[in-house]
Amino acid sequence: MYGKGILKGLSVTWKRFWDTYTEDISWMLRGKKRYNTDEGIRHRSSKDTKGIFTVQYPEEQLIVPEEFRYVPFLVYDEGADGKKDVRCTSCGICAKVCPPQCIWIVRTNDPATGRPVPVPTDFYVDMDICMNCGFCAEYCPFDAIKMDHDFDIASYGRNIYNIDKLLKPASYYAGIRPENYTREEEARKAKEAARAAKAEASASAA
């Protein structure tokens, strides 16, 4: 029969249409909210999703995974009385590895000796050029530069972030990437313990 194939196809569309309602009703009967809740959004991007698939941005936002990366920021540790301990030593590896070369670092020189000090005077990232590859965070030996989760940075002008705008506390980093943070902290503690043990060993030997 001519038109049978079309009807067969339409049955798929009809089933999808039907699913949107049955799915909503079943969530309602279970007393759960399918929209504007984390659970609902998670369900919509799981393998069992059916019915309405879309996430109504910006009222709803997809939950980004831990590894999600969007433009870098600099991490500082909160010292006593609100002092910012910037982790960056201005070694320049991020600037060297950056594929579009959007990182600009001004190294600090000691005014007395003229020797470089391991703190950046200023640090620029040209966010319009940044391609979000994450190399800077990947190759930073001091865990000082990390990729952010905040992707709503649309603006009318050019986005060149200087060090003030780039600095974010380690607690923020721990918030967006808990697993990475714990792993790095453990590695750091292990390293420090090893160093202390070594120092102790050499001290006792002397």
Binding site: V12, I103, Y124, G134
Partner: protein, 581 residues
């Protein structure tokens, strides 16, 4: 399984003693052919040695030796390793090399590209116009002495970034001053870009004939694009029509051109990986794969076992979502607006969620490193892949088939519309599903296995009619085969390290050349990389599948109706990021 013909070593020197010499440079392979005898040797390569598929043609500018080289990579469609042969000419304009277009029609666009970017004149090429740059452009950008307008330094990293990195905009520092070339007697006030005559002259024309009993008609030239919503991006096509029938057609491209090759030569090896994401932006995982195996070939390193599996899993997931999008977008082009394509997008989103969880980005994954991958796949992602592969994707593929395959309108549009036959397809260097739909079982995962594809049990999807319907159905076959590979890979994946190398932001690559290729969802994706031992590649060339497949478009479309053109173009599955590079 290798047959005698596949493993037979090729000794061109013995066959042409005075004409051909082996390439003796360290790290190089292949043969150097005398320029005068190129056509003769190439004919023998095709007819006597059986290398019927010429995949890549490109130039290399050896400025220090004052030489320009053209590199050809020929393969057999029955599988096996390839043959590289080269021609070297003095680097003095005009640089002339005989064209091989009468032996392999597929060199058409690639020779035009070499002319455009290197200024190598291919004598005998019937339509040697610029292809990626516009007519009237001055200079040949891939030459080593050519500099772009915002030129800073030959190679990255630039010295201005550290330790005195005061941010400056390049346009402030360099307002088109030193490195902009104008022709002699150039007056910008009087300059009008009007170089389209060559394009229109290259189109086949229909001369008005007064046939008895028929209406007197004339041809008409129609420009489709570059802003046509159905040409998959900014592709422009100039078509001559006789009524509704296409009699001549030329694609005009380069609207998205950014000279990926030149950027690649400025970058370090590592910095190129995120740039390859931007080639075929649907399949950044496959692009990474191709580039990574090429550089690994040069570096001569092994890939960590677990990483091999992760790579295959990612590449096959990428293929599944590419083919789903292909099906959806084809329906868009046929007029079934959005419903099928959005159904396809749902599954794609779920796959992209996985990419995002492992690599951090949905499309620009930047996931591969030399020797492995950047980070391990977390368990929840592996579980999700497993659920999708065993549970959801097979069901959804079936649903898609139920939804579309028996549709009478679709059948009327697809069945019996001829795309290519096997001979034409091979002659035009067409690869990928389009070639396999003509009955040639040429899949690099089997024909020239790379990575660990030889460990999996799967069939090469083949269809035999070469019409649109087969081109469409073969995508379903490939999705099913990819799911088969994925299932096996998920079962076999071992624990272990994910990179065989120590993480390093600069890799040491010994001098030499390498041509690496993979079966990307769109066809053969090749990378030709020449290293001179420095931190940056000396030559970095991409052989994109869409670009070479598009060579056949005129032959495909001639004689068909203009209404079918959009669908035929969709069949080639082009993507402008890769086509224009």
């Amino acid at each position: 399984m290798a047959t005698a013909l596949q493993t037979q070593t090729v000794d061109l020197v013995a066959r042409f003693p005075a004409i051909v010499t082996a390439d003796a440079r360290s790290g190089y392979t292949g043969f150097i052919v005398n320029k005068e005898n190129l056509v003769e040797v190439a004919t023998a390569v095709r007819d006597e040695f059986g290398f019927d598929l010429l995949t890549a043609v490109t130039g290399v500018d050896y400025i220090a030796e004052n030489k320009m080289e053209v590199v050809y990579h020929a393969y057999k469609t029955i599988g096996g390793t390839g043959l590289a042969f080269k021609v070297q000419v003095e680097r003095v304009d005009p640089i002339e090399v005989p064209s091989l277009i009468n032996i392999w029609a597929g060199v058409d666009f690639q020779e035009r590209e070499a002319w455009d970017l290197y200024g190598i004149k291919f004598t005998g090429h019937p339509d040697l116009r610029r292809i990626l740059m516009w007519e009237g452009y001055e200079g040949h950008p891939l030459r080593k002495d050519w500099k772009e307008p915002f030129f800073e330094e030959e190679t990255k990293p630039f010295k201005s970034r550290w330790p005195e990195g005061k941010h400056t905009f390049s346009e402030e520092k360099n307002p088109f001053r030193d490195n902009l070339n104008f022709p002699k007697d150039f007056d910008p006030e009087k300059y009008i870009v009007n170089k389209e005559e060559d394009l229109y002259a290259s189109l086949e024309r229909y001369t008005t004939k007064d046939v008895e009993g028929s209406m007197k008609t004339d041809h008409i030239v129609v420009n489709m694009g570059p802003h046509h919503p159905s040409t998959h991006g900014v592709l422009r096509v100039a078509v001559t029509l006789d009524g509704e029938t296409i009699i001549g057609l030329k694609p005009v491209m380069g609207y998205l051109h950014r000279n990926h090759d030149k950027i690649g030569e400025r970058n370090t090896y590592l910095q190129n990986i995120p740039y390859t994401d931007r080639l075929d932006y649907f399949n950044s995982m496959s692009n990474n794969f191709g580039y990574a195996i090429t550089v690994e070939k040069l570096m001569n390193i092994q890939v960590a076992e677990r990483a091999e599996y992760i790579r295959v899993i990612m590449a096959e997931l990428s293929r599944v979502q590419n083919h789903l999008i292909f099906i959806g977008m084809l329906m868009n082009d046929l007029g079934a607006m959005y419903t099928p394509s959005l159904y396809a997008f749902e599954e794609r989103e779920l796959i992209l969620d996985i990419f995002e969880a492992v690599s951090g980005a949905r499309m620009m994954c930047n996931y591969f490193r030399f020797g492995g991958v950047v980070r391990d796949v977390p368990d929840f992602a592996l579980k999700k892949i497993h659920d999708l592969v065993t549970d959801r994707l097979p069901a959804k593929t079936d649903e898609m088939e139920r939804f579309l395959n028996e549709n009478e309108i679709l059948m009327a549009r697809l069945k019996g519309i001829h795309v290519l036959n096997a001979e034409e397809a091979i002659n035009y260097s067409v690869t990928g599903p389009v070639l396999r739909a003509t009955g040639v079982p040429y899949d690099l995962r089997r024909a020239d296995p790379y990575s660990i594809y030889d460990r999996f049990d799967f069939d090469v999807a083949v269809r035999h009619n070469g019409d649109m319907m087969d081109n469409y159905l073969i995508r379903f076959d490939e999705i099913r085969q990819s799911l088969r590979i994925l299932e096996q890979a998920l079962k076999q994946i071992p624990q272990g390290p994910i990179n065989s190398q120590k993480p390093a932001y600069q890799v040491r690559v010994p001098a030499g050349e390498a041509y690496g290729r993979i079966e990307s969802p769109k066809g053969e994706l090749g990378f030709y990389v020449v290293s001179n031992g420095k931190p940056n590649p000396y030559r970095y060339h991409v052989r994109p599948a869409s670009f070479v497949n598009l060579t056949a478009i005129e032959s495909i479309c001639r004689g068909t109706k203009i209404a079918d053109f959009v669908a035929l173009l969709a069949m080639l599955d082009i993507v402008m990021g890769e086509l224009d590079r």
